[in-house]
């Protein structure tokens, strides 16, 4: 029972990170019908920016500001930096290809992903960056927290899960209850009609990229707080987040959240009850099974082609 609880906590933590990344993929696919392969690398850049901000504010052992403010500033810095990166990416790698055949922006996205991850490796080297969050305020982030039976849930995990869910709820509110969100939904439904209705498509698309990349930046910081990250991590996490988006239904926001949690669960339960090495295999098999039997994912809409 203790194992199950521990694994569930792991599943929630991992799942929320995947959900945040998956949201970025779903948002961009919904609006542009483009699979943004560079999104995982935006995630990785976010964790690097967070690391830089952490160092600038004094480092984990002896920060210049209180811990809660430190975490907040680091996350905001990462989100802002990733938003800028997302805007630049959209403007220079994707906008010129908006009306090109579908293969063109896909290849461009692959090239952008390569460019970003190798640039980071070029500039910052391949070694890992450790946030050393266990040093923050003398390790209190790990000691505090509550216990479920024998399992101790550290405060850090609670913060991670809570902030991820908070961001997701904020995003849901933004997309479903505000005019900007309505514009985004309209653009994803039918771009030309939305343009005819007076919606500034370019602005909406840029805003979508800002949102998705900011979420990826936040996810990057949350991930890096627990696990040391390197320049090569972007590809793996991006792939997993991408899987989550596809399983949940690419283009659907609740789908991305559900998919992320499902994937986190699949991975952590498989690692716990079976072995870590085959957890990836299970994840990929689930995805391929979904693609064959239900390509639109759990909550996605089946593609109705008009002839």
């Amino acid at each position: 029972m203790a194992t199950f609880t521990q694994l569930t906590v792991d599943a929630l933590t991992l799942g929320s990170v995947y959900a945040l990344v998956a949201l970025g993929y779903s948002l961009v696919y919904g609006v542009l019908k483009l699979l943004n392969f560079a999104h995982g690398d935006v995630f990785m850049v976010g964790s690097f920016i967070g690391y830089g901000a952490l160092q600038a504010l004094g480092g984990a052992s002896n920060p210049d500001v209180p811990v809660w403010l430190l975490l907040l500033l680091v996350t905001v810095a990462a989100m802002a930096g990733c938003a800028v990166l997302g805007v630049v990416l959209e403007r220079f790698a994707y906008r010129p290809l908006r009306d090109a055949p579908r293969i063109a922006p896909l290849i461009s996205a692959l090239g952008a992903s390569f460019f970003i991850s190798n640039s980071m490796q070029l500039l910052f080297g391949a070694q890992q960056r450790d946030y050393q969050s266990y040093n923050l305020s003398g390790g209190s982030l790990y000691f505090h927290g509550f216990d479920i039976g024998q399992v101790h849930v550290p405060l850090l995990r609670i913060i991670t899960i809570a902030s991820a869910f908070g961001l997701m709820i904020a995003l849901w509110y933004l997309v479903n209850r505000t005019p900007t969100g309505k514009a985004m939904r309209a653009t994803s439904f039918d771009r030309e009609a939305a343009a005819m209705m007076g919606i500034d498509i370019d602005r909406v698309i840029v805003f979508t990229f800002v949102l998705g990349s900011a979420l990826a930046g936040a996810a990057g910081v949350m991930f890096a707080l627990r696990v040391p990250t390197a320049a090569s991590v972007g590809f793996t996490i991006g792939l997993k987040g991408f899987t989550a988006a596809v399983i949940g239904g690419i283009g659907s926001i609740p789908g991305a959240m559900v998919g992320g949690l499902l994937l986190g669960g699949a991975e952590s339960y498989t690692s716990g009850y079976w072995t870590t090495t085959w957890s990836d295999l299970v994840v990929f098999t689930i995805l391929i099974a979904f693609m064959i039997f239900r390509p639109q994912g759990l909550l996605g809409r089946a593609d109705i082609r008009k002839v």
């Binding site: 063109a104 896909l106 290849i107 461009s108 090239g111 190798n118 490796q121």
Partner: protein
């Protein structure tokens, strides 16, 4: 090279012939004919029979070992032929079938591992090459078919996803294959070692002569390349090839016209996979080993860059793309050659953009002066700021570019970021004078970043260039260098 214009010998001169569709023969490949002298030269070149080009190419390539006795260069030559084969196979799937197959390298891996399993100490099998190679090729085709089966109903994006995940699946299985239910099948992360070399009629081709790469493998690879090239060309010019092209251009229209779209997709997958598996066998035989890391997404993107650069859909295009990209990657490994390459490319780009005009002369003078001024100022401020260059050309260049002895930690990221911002900003500027003015410091900064940040780190630099190449290609010239824009018959 594609087919000739309608006024060629392809047209049946004496009325309809058996097995030849007259309308197809006349309208098969209409092309934009370039005007002027270039067009005339091009038409002359196209009149040469297709096999003559192949013979010429193979003959020229065969003389390479006679010119270069360095084992390294010969090995690069062999790798280039391998990449040419891979590019040919990918061309079938992406260029002719129009299917975005992001798992292509998995077939290469399956072929490699299959050959390693058939011909090594892993399970004790030692099949003769004459049996192993066709067996592995057939296996590749079958696996391609199996991957194609669930993918039949999937359209572009979803197909890309499934194939990408197939590649990841393959990598996971290969890396963890030493403990599949207790059996060691793929040797895990350490791969399979001591794979048998190719052996024909009992004579094994040694992999090395006195530690130097054995040239026989190069010739075997060239031979296989020629065979595959011819076979694929015949496939392209057959009904299957035309059906593939119709599938690529508009799958819905093809289906409505009665093309067996699903079968065509399967055939395309299977053919590409067979070529990839075949390539895997010779490659593994030479390396005498196979590792999971040889089949990472990096290789996939490299092959894609080759196909796209050369022009997907054109066989000679992808061959050319393979040569260019592979040579480029090798050159970028070596700082001295990479430096020369950079300046050549910048000079070439500038000449192409401005032609031979007064603006070009102004640009060159302004950049030289700007650089000299900056260099002198930096040198007078602090000696160690300009003393960092070593070696012949680098030293000469360091009279113009600032090469510090030691770089402050913040300098590379800031310089790189500023350079990126300037280049991107340049693309947004419209005013010609402003553009020219902004180009001068941009070129200088680019030289600075190249010398100080990218050259010392050749590994990631190569892939940064590759990624950049892909993006720029798709925006500026999606048809690649030798791809063609076809004239639509309305």
């Amino acid at each position: 090279m594609s087919d000739t214009t309608p006024l060629s010998s392809d047209v049946p001169a004496a009325g309809p012939a058996i097995g030849q569709d007259e309308w197809v023969a006349r309208h098969a490949e209409r092309r934009l004919v370039r005007g002027g002298r270039l067009g005339a030269v091009e038409e002359r070149l196209r009149a040469v029979p297709w096999w003559a080009w192949l013979v010429l190419f193979v003959a020229a390539a065969s003389t390479m070992p006679a010119i270069e006795s360095s084992g390294y260069v010969r090995r690069v030559g062999f790798d280039t032929v391998i990449f040419m084969l891979l590019a040919l196979g990918l061309n079938v799937v992406v260029g002719w079938g129009g299917l975005l197959d992001l798992g292509y390298i998995a077939f290469y891996g399956i072929g490699s591992y299959a050959y390693a399993i058939f011909d090594s100490g892993q399970f004790g099998y030692h099949l003769p090459t004459i049996v192993a190679i066709p067996a592995v090729t057939a296996l590749g085709a079958v696996v391609g078919l199996l991957l194609g089966l669930p993918s039949r109903r999937l359209s572009g994006d979803y197909l890309a996803i499934v194939t990408l995940f197939f590649l990841e699946l393959f990598e996971t299985v290969a890396t963890n294959g030493d403990t599949i239910f207790g059996h060691n099948i793929t040797g895990g992360a350490n791969g399979i070692l001591n794979v048998d070399p190719l052996s024909f009629f009992g004579h094994a081709l040694p992999v090395q002569h006195n530690g130097i790469f054995a040239v026989s493998y190069y010739y075997v690879a060239l031979g296989i390349f020629a065979v595959v090239f011819v076979a694929l060309r015949f496939a392209n010019r057959s009904r299957v090839g035309r059906a593939w092209r119709s599938l690529r251009e508009d799958p819905l229209a093809a289906e409505v016209m009665g093309m067996p779209v699903n079968t065509l997709k399967l055939l395309s997958f299977a053919t590409g996979a067979a070529v990839a598996a075949l390539t895997g066998t010779i490659s593994t035989a030479l390396s005498a080993s196979v590792f999971p890391l040889n089949f990472s997404p990096v290789v996939l993107i490299t092959v894609y860059a080759m196909v796209i650069l050369g022009g997907s859909g054109s066989q000679w295009g992808v061959v050319f793309g393979a040569i260019v990209v592979n040579v480029l990657l090798q050159v970028l490994q070596n700082p001295g050659q990479a430096r020369v390459l950079f300046y050549l490319v910048v000079a070439g780009g500038v000449v192409l953009a401005f032609r031979l005009s007064r603006r070009l002369a102004l640009l060159i003078v302004a950049t030289a002066v700007f650089g000299a001024v900056v260099r002198v100022v930096a040198g007078s401020l602090h000696r160690s700021w300009v003393d960092g260059a070593h070696g012949g050309i680098a030293h000469a260049v360091s009279d113009w570019v600032v090469v510090p002895v030691r770089l402050a930690a913040w300098l590379p990221p800031v310089a790189y970021g500023v350079l990126l911002a300037m280049v991107l900003g340049l693309t947004l500027l419209r005013h010609p004078v402003l553009r020219l003015a902004a180009l001068v410091p941009t070129i200088y900064l680019a030289a600075f970043v190249w010398e100080n940040v990218m050259l010392p780190n050749p590994g990631p630099t190569r892939y940064v260039m590759l990624g950049l190449l892909l993006i720029v290609l798709m925006i500026a010239r999606p048809n690649g260098l030798l791809g063609e824009r076809r004239v639509e018959i309305v």
